[in-house]
Amino acid sequence: MLSSDVLKERFLNLVTDENLRARVAEKTEGVRNVILALAFGALATNQNDAG
């Protein structure tokens, strides 16, 4: 059984990390889409056709 202090620390860590994930997602959503488009979009198709 975990003590209340350990549970509290775990919960705070969880919230801290989720907040950080939300900030990373907000800052990188655009570039993620660019990379996915480069990897799998029309440009990638054209490259495969050319090859």
Binding site: R21, I35, A39, F40
Partner: protein, 482 residues
């Protein structure tokens, strides 16, 4: 006249920085494991991670160089890193270009073994009811040959497929005549019925054999009972004979972990070594068929299996340190994904899931399933992954069925809760059949998933060895490069 530009021309010192996508997981009080978009890992402290997210990094401060090398940060106007990540991602996912390379023919559900963990719910009688007919097999072959992959593998399964060996002969001959593709063949057999005629046929048609070996005789025979209690004796004799006739690399063996195996991993590995096999695949039980009915699946959880796995992996590494090359195949598969960009389309560990896109299963009654586990579920009354029937469907209607598209799209790790932000996502996979079977939902609640716990546990163990045990890390790197 051309001349070199000054060093500052190549620096991002005065340029705005841009964060690249990454996932992370807290691994200690002040430590994080961070993975970039293609799954390269680095460790950062909490302070370093916060500085990185706030872009409080500059060339020369050490953290910038670390983050830049790991593709976590780039110059806002630089295109090279984005293009590099895209090229690597495209390479890693290029297995998707080979749609449905595996076709499993269940030529009979009959089996002379009575394994309590049997995941396919084998039958012991009634040839007419539980054998695949030639007519149905030919329709299944039409579908298999219509798949777009230039090279396909046809795997014969059961029950015990050698109980319907004449049909295997017919399918192999027909596939060779009708196919414009390269077709590889595998027979998954317990080898109890292996004889010279079967071996000669395998040799003549370049057919691989895959068998089950659960460890030394007492353990294997306990797990795999048959009349005469001689399953181990027959399997070992079959492996030896097959290696002689077909060649040492033409027969492979798989083990299944039961509760009785948990304290025997050293014995199990030593048995594989004794038989001259070049590695072992340490596999947990799957939640299907008799493994559920006989409560075998419920007898141990993910943590007990992980302890078994770690002990086994460390024993395998010890064998390598003593000079004998010997691999744990699941670790080798994960390491290839973690340390290279080779496209690994292993059907049980990929996203989009391998169901249908990686394999189709033609059951003895003509039903077509999205995976081997899907047909196992159907034997206990759950048709969630039954896509259709060879009499009524084509390759396209099966692959484009709402049922398959629904299962695959709802289980994508790239956008699933917990998975999409998981530090191991690049190397993991979706398993909609497992999660449907255990949680009633193709996506699954990952904190409650033994599948998730096992993948995270193994990858964490591999990273720990790579980081902290140089001699063992060198062995693991060799497996990834093999």
């Amino acid at each position: 006249m051309a001349r070199f530009l000054p060093p500052e021309s190549f620096s991002a010192a005065t340029e705005d920085l841009s964060l690249l996508p990454f996932n992370f997981e807290r691994t200690g009080a002040n430590q994080y494991l961070v993975a970039n978009m293609v799954g390269d890992f680095i460790c950062l402290t909490e302070d370093e991670l916060n500085r990185l997210v706030d872009l409080q990094v500059r060339p020369g401060d050490g953290l910038y160089e670390k983050a830049y090398a790991a593709h976590l940060v780039t110059g806002a106007s630089q295109k090279a890193q984005r293009q590099l990540l895209a090229a690597r991602l495209r390479s890693r996912m290029s297995f998707l270009q080979q749609t449905t390379p595996l076709h499993i023919f269940v030529v009979t559900l009959r089996c002379e073994h009575s394994c309590p963990y049997c995941q396919v719910s084998r039958q012991s009688t009634d040839r007419s009811r539980f054998d695949l007919s030639e007519q149905t097999a030919m329709r299944a072959l039409d579908i298999a040959l219509a798949s777009p992959a230039a090279r396909i593998k046809i795997e014969f399964q059961g029950g015990e497929p050698l109980l319907n060996f004449p049909l295997i002969r017919t399918i192999v001959a027909a596939a060779k005549v009708r196919s414009g593709k390269k077709v590889d063949f595998v027979i998954a057999s317990n080898l109890a019925l292996l004889d010279d005629a079967v071996l000669e046929f395998c040799r003549a048609n370049n057919i691989l054999l895959s068998t089950s070996l659960d460890g030394p005789a007492d353990l294997h025979n306990k797990n795999r009972p048959r009349p005469g209690a001689n399953s181990h004796e027959l399997a070992v004799a079959g492996i030896r004979r097959a290696r002689e006739v077909l060649g040492p690399d033409r027969v492979g063996a798989l083990m299944t972990t039961t509760e009785a195996s948990l304290n025997r991993v050293d014995d199990i590995i030593d048995e594989y070594l004794r038989l001259g096999l070049d590695g072992i695949f340490l596999r947990p039980l799957s939640p299907f068929g008799f493994a559920i009915k006989t409560k075998q699946f419920a007898k141990y959880g993910a943590q007990k299996w992980l302890a078994f796995y770690e002990r086994g992996l460390r024993r395998v590494l010890e064998i390598n340190r003593q000079g004998t090359p010997f691999r744990e195949f699941y670790a080798a598969l994960l390491l290839t994904r973690m340390l290279s960009d080779r496209p690994i389309g292993y059907v049980d560990l990929r996203s989009p899931a391998g169901a249908g896109l990686g394999a189709l299963v033609y059951n003895y009654d003509g039903s077509v399933f999205a995976s081997d586990e899907g047909r196992m579920l159907a034997e206990t009354g759950d048709d969630a992954f039954r896509l259709g029937h060879v009499d009524h469907d084509s390759y396209n209607s099966l692959i484009l069925s709402d049922k398959l598209i629904g299962a695959i799209s709802s289980s994508l790790t790239q956008c699933a809760p917990e998975c999409s932000t998981c530090v191991y996502e690049s190397h993991c996979g979706a398993d909609p059949v497992y999660h449907h079977a255990t949680q009633g939902d193709a996506l699954g609640i990952k904190p409650l998933s033994a599948f998730c716990a096992r993948q995270k546990g193994i990858m964490g163990l591999l990273l720990d060895i790579l980081e902290n045990s140089p001699e063992d890390a060198a062995i693991l790197r060799r497996w990834a490069a093999a």
